[in-house]
């Protein structure tokens, strides 16, 4: 592909340096002024340090999310220095022949592309009641891109997978502050060997930007974003799930529904993996005033490893539901855009709701299923509008 040559040219001998903002630096921003942030346009700034950026839902009107509008989630500091020429990816553990690949060697492998909707497990956390700790994402820690790179399967086969290999661990170059446990997670071998699980170097035709894991990241399609480790440098095949904070207690859900305040034993939890069925309304936006006439309600719907079967819209508080029209663009792990033309019969206040159903028969619940970390929020979406 053309972009590969451009990419190699771009990174050849280059050192990408970015000094972390010094700690305890504060000065005020005049009210209403946006925070200068190169390459990131109109994003909701959840945190500058570490960088956590959310897309406003009104950006969800294209099938592929432009990179400057794609959410950014970091658990810790981004790498201070990324040297593409010195970058190496090591593969070891339960394999016959441990190996190390340079970027040029990675590019010699056959490239595949997967259009994937990537969503943070904590997307929608701010909507949980009672509220739970963590980045207080609204509805926009999600986006869709065409990720490209070699298959993880091909790299594992090259190293000679041993029968004892049951899980595959990823580690990246995140800068770990203090005594925080390193961001290391693993995925089961079946998902690692899936033909759509990639070591991605490109995002919608361009090399990954630093915020998205340059020069290479794991891409575990249909799963929570945390599975797709950024700035990837180490892959290790293990005989069991990786033991570490970001596998447990992090990124786990109770096996049975729990109430706020209930104690949950680790053995009564499971790792969060595939995404839930979900839709969001990207227009009209919440609290907007509309003029009488045709209103196109639109948005996006996704379901992780499943396909969206239908999206229904209610404009009467959930009494009646009408089918939305699904957009033409589709791919197995990607969201479907949808739209519904609505003609309000009279002026007044309306609640517009969207509800998705997927190929596994899952339906967005009317009320959210609470859990202690606020993962996989997927209640029926709602915006309130005034028609005059």
């Amino acid at each position: 592909m053309n972009s590969r040559r451009e990419f190699l040219k771009q990174v050849s001998g280059a050192v990408f340096a970015a000094a972390a903002a010094p700690s305890m630096l504060t000065w005020a921003l005049p009210a209403g002024q946006a925070v200068p942030f190169p390459g990131e346009d109109g994003m909701i700034l959840r945190s500058f340090r570490f960088v956590d950026l959310e897309s406003p839902v009104e950006y969800f009107n294209t099938w592929l999310t432009p990179v400057p509008h794609f959410f950014v989630r970091n658990h810790m500091h981004e790498p201070i220095e990324l040297d593409a020429s010195g970058w190496r990816l090591s593969l070891g553990g339960e394999v016959e022949k441990p190996l190390t690949l340079s970027l040029a060697e990675l590019f010699k492998l056959e490239t595949h592309s997967v259009v994937n909707t990537l969503e943070c497990a904590g997307n929608g956390r701010s909507l949980q009641r009672p509220q739970v700790p963590g980045i207080q994402w609204g509805k926009g820690a999600v986006g869709t891109a065409r990720f490209s790179g070699p298959r993880l399967h091909d790299i594992l086969q090259r190293a000679g997978l041993k029968p004892s290999g049951k899980h595959v661990m990823f580690r990246g170059l995140d800068e770990v502050p203090g005594k925080v446990p390193p961001f290391i997670r693993s995925i089961p071998i079946e998902k690692a060997l899936d033909a759509d699980t990639l070591i991605a170097t490109h995002m919608s035709g361009s090399p990954l930007t630093k915020h998205h894991g340059f020069p290479a990241r794991a891409l575990v399609p249909g799963w929570i974003g945390a599975a797709s480790c950024k700035w990837l440098t180490e892959i290790k095949v293990l005989d069991a799930e990786f033991v570490g904070n970001f596998m447990s207690p992090g990124y786990r859900l109770p096996n049975q529904p729990v109430k706020p305040g209930d104690a949950v034993k680790p053995e009564d939890t499971h790792a969060v993996t595939a995404l839930s069925v979900k839709s969001v309304i990207s227009g009209p936006i919440d609290s907007s005033s509309l003029k009488m006439g045709k209103v196109t309600v639109h948005g996006a719907a996704w379901a992780g490893e499943a396909d969206i079967v239908k999206v229904e819209i209610s404009t009467d508080g959930g009494t009646t539901w009408n089918l939305a029209k699904l957009g033409r663009d589709q791919a197995h792990y990607a969201w479907r855009l949808w739209s519904y033309d609505w003609k309000p019969g009279r002026g007044g206040d309306y609640s517009i709701q969207s509800r998705a159903t997927d190929s596994q028969g899952r339906v967005q619940p009317e009320t959210p299923v609470w859990n202690p970390s606020g993962y996989l929020y997927n209640a029926v979406d709602q915006v309130n509008v005034h028609v005059s």
Binding site: P22, Q33, P36, P38, D41, L45, Q131, V132
Partner: protein, 116 residues
């Protein structure tokens, strides 16, 4: 770009003032005033910025868990300050407070020029 921000930031630290009026590179926000503001700034903002705290709305029990977890993860909290720090956080960032309104980003550098 980040180099540029860093240079501005370092100048600000050296002089103790914002580097230039025309370059309001808002990197972080402040924690609210109070007896524990300075201690909380030292303990928490060494590793992350204030917005991560400003956006939370948690009970005292939840704040207690967070403070103890962060202390284990390297936050420097004098044991004598632990309870006062928990009080400070659970008073300022309790579930009954209005939601935090985050700013937006603009695709430009600290000097106001358009980014890529």
């Amino acid at each position: 770009m980040f180099r540029k921000i860093s240079a501005v930031a370092l100048l600000a630290i050296t002089t103790g003032l914002p580097a230039q009026k025309s370059a309001p590179a808002n990197v972080t926000a402040d924690l609210p005033a109070g007896a524990m503001q300075t201690r909380a700034t030292t303990a928490c903002l060494e590793c992350h910025e204030a917005r991560i705290i400003l956006q939370q709305r948690l009970s005292k029990a939840a704040w207690t868990k967070e403070v103890d977890k962060m202390t284990k993860w390297g936050a420097v909290v004098d044991p004598a300050d632990r309870d006062a720090l928990i009080d400070y956080l659970s008073t300022n960032f309790s579930p009954d407070k209005p939601a935090y309104e985050p700013p937006r980003t603009a695709n430009k550098n600290a000097s106001g020029k358009s980014g890529d």
